[in-house]
């Protein structure tokens, strides 16, 4: 049922151009400079606070702009990546945290995986600038290193068990968050030449992720990775988006170490994703044991991370295609350039949906960045060549726990 619908190159280019336009409209000055706006999420929304958030939104923005710069050579894309990096540097607190890094829990610091995702952004930027012999690279590298050393290495890493905890002092492991940490660690290792970081942090993390993967031939969940571990209890929930976010780190660890079992795990995860993909290219929100699931909300913009995962695995030669999901994302483009967050928020909880229907259409920078990163990698023309025009961003009402204020 996963017949790929060939994405229209012009539609991809227009979507990237639209997101670039929309991101510019989501920049705000208060309480500090950065990308702001509302957040809607599976568990909770953040709508009263719509100021800047220094969280995982920066990962896709920086990666996407750097991709456009590398592919099309226009310096303005690099400038936008640097502007985003400057937000993070300016918003870093003296103790290493980033201001308001909680995404749906904003305003607050210490967001996971949000701070390490911001580190990924900074390290990608530092890597790009170092490659261009730009001395500014050191500034972004220093900011990422300070955060990783103070927070991830200093507070979240539990050395006796070689485990990245989900919060300081909280015995728990979340594969997708740890995967982002592994990506940041490998980038830091590459930037500093300290290969010991890979052995100390990335490899044990990848091993722990693989340990939570179901490998049972014929099982519908074969290849899926459990959502988390609380204490010693494995939480048997399987979110396609978060499984996809494990894939890049697994492939990178395989490449760094030459251990094919990590590549095999990534391929198995991708095969699982393709197997459960729905005919329209979307994915259910979460699967549980014994065939239970909650289809809603079905992410749209955020599925960019699934496109990224499938594209990386396809590049390894595995027969998985992201085309249907690219088409699903393109179906979410809106006149102001944003990509809608989801389909079906109103159907998550029977009887309570009325309060949540609005959330589908909300534009969230921290979801659109994922579509931007994925589409920037596959567009065959620079967004500057698109002649599409876009409307002004649509304001979101301040809603608290489903009640419009």
């Amino acid at each position: 049922m996963n017949a790929p619908a060939a994405p229209d190159p012009a539609a991809i280019a227009a979507a990237v151009a639209g997101l670039d336009w929309w991101f510019d409209g989501m920049r705000i000055g208060g309480p500090f400079p950065g990308y702001g706006g509302p957040v809607v999420h599976w568990w909770n929304h953040c709508l009263a606070y719509q100021g800047a958030g220094l969280d995982w939104r920066y990962e896709g923005i920086v990666a996407g702009y750097l991709t456009l710069w590398r592919r099309f050579g226009d310096r303005s894309w690099l400038d936008k990546a640097r502007r985003a990096g400057d937000d993070l540097v300016a918003g870093q607190l003296p103790d290493g945290h980033f201001r308001n890094s909680g995404f749906e829990r904003n305003p607050g610091t210490g967001g996971t995986p949000h701070e390490v995702a911001a580190d990924v952004a900074l390290l990608l930027l530092a890597q790009a600038l170092a490659g261009a012999a730009d001395p500014a690279a050191a500034r972004y590298l220093a900011a990422a290193r300070a955060n990783l050393e103070a927070f991830a290495f200093g507070q979240l890493w539990h050395a006796p068990t070689a485990t990245l905890w989900d919060a300081p002092g909280a015995v728990g492991f979340v594969p997708n968050k740890a995967a982002t940490f592994a990506e940041a660690t490998m980038l830091l290792a590459a930037a500093t030449g300290d290969d010991a970081l890979v052995e100390r942090y990335a490899v044990p993390t990848a091993e722990r992720i693989v340990g939570l993967q179901i490998r049972r031939f014929g099982d519908p969940l074969d290849g899926a990775i459990a959502q988390n571990v609380l204490g010693t209890r494995v939480v048997e929930k399987y979110f396609p988006l978060y499984i996809a976010r494990c894939v890049p780190a697994l492939l990178q660890v395989a490449e760094r170490t030459g251990q094919t079992r990590f590549r095999d795990a990534a391929v198995a995860a991708a095969r699982f994703l393709v197997r459960i993909r729905e005919p329209d290219g979307g994915f259910p929100q979460v699967l549980y044991p014994r065939g239970r699931r909650n289809r809603y909300p079905r992410w749209i913009a955020g599925q960019g991370d699934i496109v990224r995962a499938l594209s990386l695995v396809a590049a390894e030669g595995a027969p998985v295609s992201a085309d249907a999901t690219v088409a699903w994302i393109l179906g979410g483009t809106r006149p102001d350039g944003r990509i809608a967050t989801a389909n079906g928020f109103g159907r998550v909880v029977p009887g309570r949906g009325r309060r949540d229907r609005f959330a589908d259409e909300v534009g969230v920078v921290g979801w659109c960045d994922k579509a931007f990163r994925a589409l920037a990698a596959i567009t065959d023309r620079s967004p500057t060549e698109s002649d599409a025009t876009f409307a002004a961003p649509v304001p979101t009402p301040r809603v608290v726990a489903g009640v419009v204020r």
Binding site: I28, G30, P31, F32, W42, W43, N44, L47, A48, Y49, Q50, G51, L93, P94, D95, G96, H97, R99, N100, R105, N106, P107, G108, T109, G110, A146, N147, E149, A150, F151, G154, Q155, A167, P168, V235, E236, K237, V286, Y288, R292, R293, N294, V348, V349, P350, G351, R352, R355, D356, R398, V400, A401, G402, V403, R405
Partner: protein, 185 residues
């Protein structure tokens, strides 16, 4: 740069929603873009610190009492005579649920209605956070978790979060009371 990051405070959901309500109410009242923090905030220091993260609209003539004791609130009102007062205080359910909670929220009750009248203020808005509806969702979540139905437990969890703002008659019974008062004309 320090080598150890500062502590990460996990704000209880009821408190987060209460602060959201105050911020949304201020934005509605002030109808102005985000700007510096409000002029005068009193109460529990960590609540004030959390509130200041919002960088919310400047309200030059408002007092925001976040978990302040009745005595502290009264003294600040008498001293400054703000045109508007916002309070985050313990609601009736808060005292009932406190023994059941691992980490109870240390809020004190609001001034009595008679005290507000005596001070020359009338209630403008009254909201409740975590009312009976939210408590029922929480009970259902625990029941489904115990019954090994994570799919239904998750739905109940989301139902709980989306029901944190009490509506109708339930608002007066909630765990946390969020109220605005204005000076009597």
């Amino acid at each position: 740069m320090s080598t150890t990051a500062g502590p990460v405070l996990v704000v209880p959901l009821s408190i987060r929603v209460a602060l959201d309500l105050v911020v949304a109410g201020i934005a509605r009242d002030a109808d102005r873009p985000d700007g510096p923090a409000p002029a005068r905030t009193i109460g529990v220091p960590w609540l004030i610190a959390e509130f200041e993260r919002y960088g919310t609209a400047a309200v030059t003539d408002a007092l925001i009492a976040l978990g302040a004791s009745p005595e502290e609130a009264r003294a600040a009102i008498v001293a400054h005579r703000p045109a508007r007062v916002w309070t985050v205080a313990a609601g009736p359910l808060g005292a009932l649920l406190r023994p059941l909670r691992a980490a109870p929220v240390p809020l004190l009750p609001d001034l009595s209605p008679a005290a507000w009248r005596e001070l020359g203020y009338v209630a403008a808005t009254a909201d409740g956070v975590e009312g009976p509806g939210a408590v029922l969702w929480a009970i259902a979540e625990r029941a489904w978790t115990a019954g090994r139905r994570p799919d239904l437990a998750d739905r109940c969890r989301i139902g709980l979060i989306r029901s944190m703002v009490a509506t109708g008659g339930h608002r007066s019974l909630a765990t946390v009371a969020v109220r605005a008062y204005r000076e009597r004309a």
